[in-house]
């Protein structure tokens, strides 16, 4: 019933319905883990590490009465560009560099050197 265009986070009035659907919130049961807090920060243009605590499932957008997209991906991208990233991210990047895959697995018969030279 709602328009398909996603609205910017400035239109969020923090009703909290997004938290109902948020899988992170469902597990941790605290406001700072939920989607609403990310919307609150995004509205204030505050990029913090907490944006990495998101499964990117999009359930918050589905539940939102105003179909607001918080824009976690863009914020994360900016954070990484500014040098703020999670340790797992760094490991993943190094793995891709050295092994050609994010998990750091080596294929039989291949040496690490062969991946990046």
């Amino acid at each position: 019933m709602v328009d398909n265009r996603n609205q910017t986070v400035e239109n969020c009035n923090l009703c909290g319905i997004c938290n109902l659907n948020c899988p992170i919130y469902a597990v941790l049961l605290k406001e700072s883990a939920g989607a609403r807090f990310k919307a609150f920060l995004a509205k204030k243009k505050q990029a913090k590490e907490i944006f990495f605590l998101c499964t990117a499932c999009g359930a918050c957008i589905q539940g939102c009465p105003a179909q607001i997209e918080i824009g976690c991906f863009d914020i994360r991208k900016n954070l990484v560009a500014a040098g703020v990233e999670m340790p797992a991210n760094k490991v993943m990047r190094e793995n891709i560099k050295h092994f050609g895959n994010s998990l750091g697995e080596t294929k039989k018969g291949k040496k690490i050197k062969q991946y990046y030279t």
Binding site: V2, L14, G16, I17
Partner: protein, 390 residues
């Protein structure tokens, strides 16, 4: 301080981390009040010990559920925020007598999801489905179904709460906490009545003139079979697929309505449930909850049309939701003054705390003073939110 609370609830259930403090400084309003510490108790005993300590150290405590208050009911500057988020379990279900016992932090949506398989329902569905049962009890929630089913107090059988001195009560005297907006105690659990899923029939009425609309609304208000009667303004009605007229949707928990076919009734239910989403998706940002008599609803609807504000609501109960765009923020004060002139009030749906405190009746203020004397004489629970006690 942190250590003391950690001894009571465990280190994982207490936080003075800056990120958490920031997350609990807001609710569904624009006000931000930074708390001092956040605590997530899991049992009644923990709440008792927390409030006993808060009372002894005269520390202001704010009770919070899912933080959906639009009137700053669950935030407090330098306060101890006690959140019921982790008290969210169904404790007992008595299918035979249609009773359910739940912890106060359970959200209405979660509660009804758990009952869905049994074709049972807690029938009062609030404006914001993220509300907790504790919040609904504290507000004595009124919903669209209240026309046929009454308010929250009629669905609460027994309630357990901890007062401001740390004493716990499990009582049928629900008036001690129902509708007291957290001033007398922290609700920890409640025994609620539930019912079978109603099969509804509907009548849809469309009108060009407000006078005709209100005439029909008057008839429906008296109709004892009416489950709910919803009003939708012309623009929203058109966007929902009705004619561009004022729409009245009357639901009956009997076969009285002309629309009985399950597919059609489902479509209508979906339309009713999506009114809020439809208006919000059009960029309407602020919501007010005016309560006016049917006679005065005419003036209110005219005012809203003139100022491009959207309106829908429970017309049989005289409770409306009026939406304003961001650019019209300044209009809200004018609107509130206009409703006051009409003899109407605000707070019936969203609560009276802080923002709507001026609309609280003298009798209610007196009742709250007496409750404070008995249950929170040091005024630690939601201090100075509704009344100036001591």
């Amino acid at each position: 301080m942190n250590k003391k609370f950690a001894n009571i609830v465990g280190t994982e259930n207490v936080s003075d981390n800056l990120l958490d403090l920031e997350a609990y400084c807001y609710s569904s309003s624009e006000t931000e009040l930074k708390p001092e510490i956040i605590i997530w108790p899991k049992t009644t005993e923990q709440v008792q010990r927390l409030l006993l300590f808060a009372n002894q150290s005269r520390m202001p405590a704010v009770i919070r559920g899912s933080g959906t208050s639009t009137v700053d009911g669950c935030t407090g500057e330098n306060a101890l925020v006690i959140s019921s988020e982790r008290m969210n379990k169904v404790l007992k279900l008595d299918v035979k007598n249609k009773l359910i016992e739940v912890e106060s932090g359970i959200k209405i949506t979660a509660l009804n999801n758990s009952l869905g398989a049994l074709k049972l329902i807690f029938p009062l569905i609030p404006f914001n489905p993220a509300q907790t049962i504790g919040g609904m009890i504290a507000l004595n929630a009124v919903t669209k179904e209240s026309q046929g089913l009454g308010r929250m107090n009629e669905w609460v059988e027994e309630v357990e709460f901890v007062d401001g001195t740390g004493k716990s009560f499990y009582t049928k005297k629900k008036e001690l906490v129902v509708g007291q907006e957290g001033l007398s105690g922290f609700i920890t659990r409640a025994k609620l009545r539930i019912t079978e899923l109603p099969s509804l029939s509907f009548d849809v009425f469309s009108f060009d003139q407000t006078t005709d609309l209100l005439g029909q609304a008057r008839l429906l208000k008296k109709d004892k079979e009416a489950y709910f009667v919803e009003f939708i303004d012309r623009k929203t009605a058109q966007e929902l697929g009705f004619d561009a007229k004022y729409v009245l949707l009357a639901a009956y928990a009997s076969l009285k309505g002309k629309i009985k076919n399950l597919a059609e009734t489902n479509v209508l239910q979906e339309k009713i449930n999506s009114v809020h989403s439809k208006i919000r998706s059009k960029g309407y940002y602020y919501t007010q909850d005016p309560c006016v008599t049917l006679e005065k609803a005419y003036d209110m609807i005219e005012w809203c049309e003139k100022h491009d504000a959207r309106v829908h609501g429970h017309i049989g109960l005289g409770i409306f939701y009026v939406y304003f765009q961001k650019k019209d923020k300044d209009l809200i004060e004018t609107f509130r003054a206009f409703i006051k002139r009409l003899g109407g009030s605000f707070g019936t749906a969203f609560g009276f705390v802080t923002v709507n405190a001026t609309f609280l009746s003298q009798e209610k203020k007196k009742e709250l003073m007496q409750l404070k004397d008995e249950h929170d004489y040091n005024n630690i629970l939601n201090p100075n939110k509704l009344i100036n006690y001591r």
